[in-house]
Symmetry: C2
Subunit: 105 residues, 2 copies
């Protein structure tokens, strides 16, 4: 598994960071607007954003003295794909169970 995928799994492990992504899903926001939504200091928010940026889940552009943060869901594809593999496992097992039930008739 790629180093970036590892980072994404780590990034979304924290509930605060998941909330941050959910907030950015609705709109692009400057740091101070994000900050206002959390009961923690700015440095704490900045650290979380650093984690999200380093795995490309959040992208930033400067606008005057504000840093606009926007969501980039693309790296989540790694998570989606990883989970999907287990869906197939699930299906297989359901099929086996069904087969067993059938043969018991």
């Amino acid at each position: 598994m790629s180093r970036l995928a590892d980072e994404v799994f780590r990034a979304i492990a924290d509930p605060t960071r998941r909330r941050m992504l959910a907030i950015l899903e609705k709109e692009e926001l400057p740091l101070k607007r994000i900050e206002a939504r959390f009961r923690m200091s700015r440095p704490a928010v900045i650290k979380h954003m650093r984690v999200l940026k380093s795995c490309r889940l959040v992208q930033v552009r400067r606008q005057g003295r504000q840093m606009m943060h926007r969501l980039n869901p693309q790296p989540l594809a790694a998570v989606r794909d990883w989970v999907a593999a287990f869906d197939r496992f699930w299906d297989t097992h359901m099929a086996r169970l069904k087969q067993q039930v059938e043969s018991d008739k």
Copy 2:
């Protein structure tokens, strides 16, 4: 978000635990067979399994003196669903982009 979902996100954040799930995807295994696949002590493996069990990703049954471990992918549904919400975001943005491109013609 539910306490169990939080635990699942934490559980799959660790690459070792993801590998363990991948191994159990293929077959139900006793601890010592799992242990044999990792270069770490038994207590370390047991601790990882404890995390996986506490969020129901792994279920255990006794068979003689062995503890058989099997995968239960069901809790991963929380992750699948959470990621799926962002797929919709992605689609929306792609649609907006397309619309923009269209109107530029």
